[in-house]
Amino acid sequence: MIVRLVQRIGILLASLVVSSVLVFAFMAVLPGDPARVALGTSASDSAVAQLREQFGLDRSLVAQYFSWIHGLVTFDPGDSYISHAPIGPQLADRLQVTLWLVGTGMVIACVLALPVGTLMAVRHRKPSGLILSALSQVGVAVPAFLAGILLITVFAVGLGWLPANGWTPPVQDPVLFLKQLVMPALSLGIVQAAVLTRYVRSAVLDVLREDYLRTARAKGLRPTRALLRHGLRNAAVPVVTVLALQLATLLVGSVVIERVFVIPGLGSLLLDSVANRDLIVVQDVVMIIAMAVLLVNFLVDMVYLLIDPRLRGGAS
């Protein structure tokens, strides 16, 4: 167990280093000089050169890389090229907004997909199972932003039940916060639920064919009870894997959803910073997203150990 844990932490750290090098390298080859963009069309070459020096853009790439990493590790990523405001608080703020969105989206996805997927598997030969299956296919085909636009058209503009867009922190106005959260979280959640449902269905179907389940039935357990007691934990391993992948999709999907619903999260920050060539912010945001994905994968590995005792035996 300990060996495995250390191994996983080692892999996590190595992936973080590799991804940071990749992120930095991609930013470095992006066309457009950040100092020129910051100063605008009319700036003289000397003013641009001065700003490059101020940002440290005139240093070697290696030096720039290490000062960036140093800033990240010490939680002091410095000031934005464009807004001249400290980046740290801004990142923290935006991250919280996105976490709400992704977290709620994930909860919605799980709450919908786990029972529906199981139901689809249990009834896979019955009409109700087929209908659910068809519906989930439609859900898989609909991109989240389209779901968002449809929801806005119907529930905000059409019926006037919910605000079309915007964001309010829960501490400021919890009711408005919930109202504004519903549609973006649903657009993310429903689409992910559709995908997840397919995996839950096939995982449960696999389990239903296993010998141990037949044994449980032979002992006299009812089908549902047998499935709940012996099946679900076994079906959980592949589902958790997919969940981790989906969390990454949700993080990326939220970039678009934040734009559709005008939410000031990490995704909007990323898009704005790309447009302004606020490269230091872009770098930090992309790195945060990469870190989040790697961290989730790490946690999933840990969850495997919890779900499946057979994996706890260590490297053997």
Binding site: G160, V262, P264, D272, A275
Partner: protein, 505 residues
Amino acid sequence: MKHHKRPGRGTGAVAATLACLLLASCSAGSTATGGSAGKNSLNIGLTAEPANFDFTKTEGAAIPQALLYNVYETLVKLDQSGKIRPQLATSWSLSKDRRTYTFHLVKNATFSNGARFTAEDAKFSIERVTTDWTLVQKTQMDVVDTVRAVSPTELKVTLKRPSNDWLYRMTTRIGAMFSRTGVSKLATEPVGTGPYVVKNWNRGDSITLARRHGYWARTPHFASVTLKYFKDPTAMNNALLTGTINVIGQMQSPESLYRFQNNSKYKVIEGTTNGEVVLSLNNGSGPMKNPKARQAVRYAIDHKALMDTCWAGRGKLIGSMVPPTDPWYQNLTDLYPYDRDKAKKLVEESGEAGRTLRLRIPTLPYATACGTVVKSQLEQAGFKVKLDQLEFPAAWLTTVFKNADYDMSIIGHVEPRDMQTVFGNEKSYIRYDNPEFRALLAKADQGTREQQITDMRAAARLVSKDAAADWLFLLPNLMVADKDITGLPVNSVSESLDLTGLGRS
């Protein structure tokens, strides 16, 4: 075998995540979007968010739009008809040699940091433009010779030569008055004498301005105004339809105006702006260096059809670099009326028919909408056109604006009275180099008001006749607002979105 009911680990993980989120939410306080505004507050939807608050070092229209006249004030201000009116200067006079302006300043104005506004601050602000600003606009202050604070309320500014343009420029951002003790954090904490202060800025979302106690002049109606920024025009329309905002300050999707026009809850305002949508031609190199090819371009464009297609017929055809709110406006659309046969003939005469024109447009709504129409109209006249979209601002600014690596582009020049900056400088990206044109501009600046008007008209006609560019249309000032909002400007004449005159009926 006994089955223990274990708590599902998956549930545990979900619960842990939720707990984290809840904890995080406690501090998720600084990113807020106002909901529906109360009686005393107003939410306005706009397009471009400022990158920071320092318009002395940061280009673009977004910062002065939010801050000028609202947070910062100028000695003189532009009114709706384009006339120069008193603001921090109650009156002013011009010496006989037309070189010295004497401004009499208000007595009771204070800055939001508590300091009193005096002639020393005015002197400081004017001199600071030359020493500390980095924008191209700073050169408009080069004409100033000396600035003298005669008394706390009297300021004398002597110019190197007479200049009509200087007083006008004092109504723009370069005329903004700064506190001698309030310029250390311009990018994040602006300090001005205006009726509003910046209360809150949720980056990526909105800026909230709050009415200031102790403002020296008439207090504005709204205690709080939130400027909310939308990248997506549809999202902005929906925000007004669902009551999140009260005003669409800049309508970016004129084709969707119908959603508001037949609705008694809203009013639509349509006027003019200073934004000339220019089909820029590279006069310095490539096929567009050839005057005949440029003339062919002007004859080839059917402006009416173009404006109908790409901007829903909203806007005004002008044919030159002068909007109708400038005193020297004249309609020059008949210089090159649409004539495809003539264009075809000119294309052949020019010998440029075989070369491919690089139409490199920025990724902006009007440019992308017009780009394909321009391409097809030019191709019908016999040109070969390759359309490239360059990401705006970064890629477009570097490729087209700085390196002039283009043959044609489409861009809205939104700065007021910008004929000089765009065409009067042979190094500008259009590379128009005509000494006669520059002489006319110089003469206009120094002459009397009548001479100024005559010379500016001649200059506008000359640059249009030379086909230095094609003027596709003038962007309209399109606003949609709740019916009860009053005081919205019909024409957008200045760089500022002036909030001081707004009210609710």
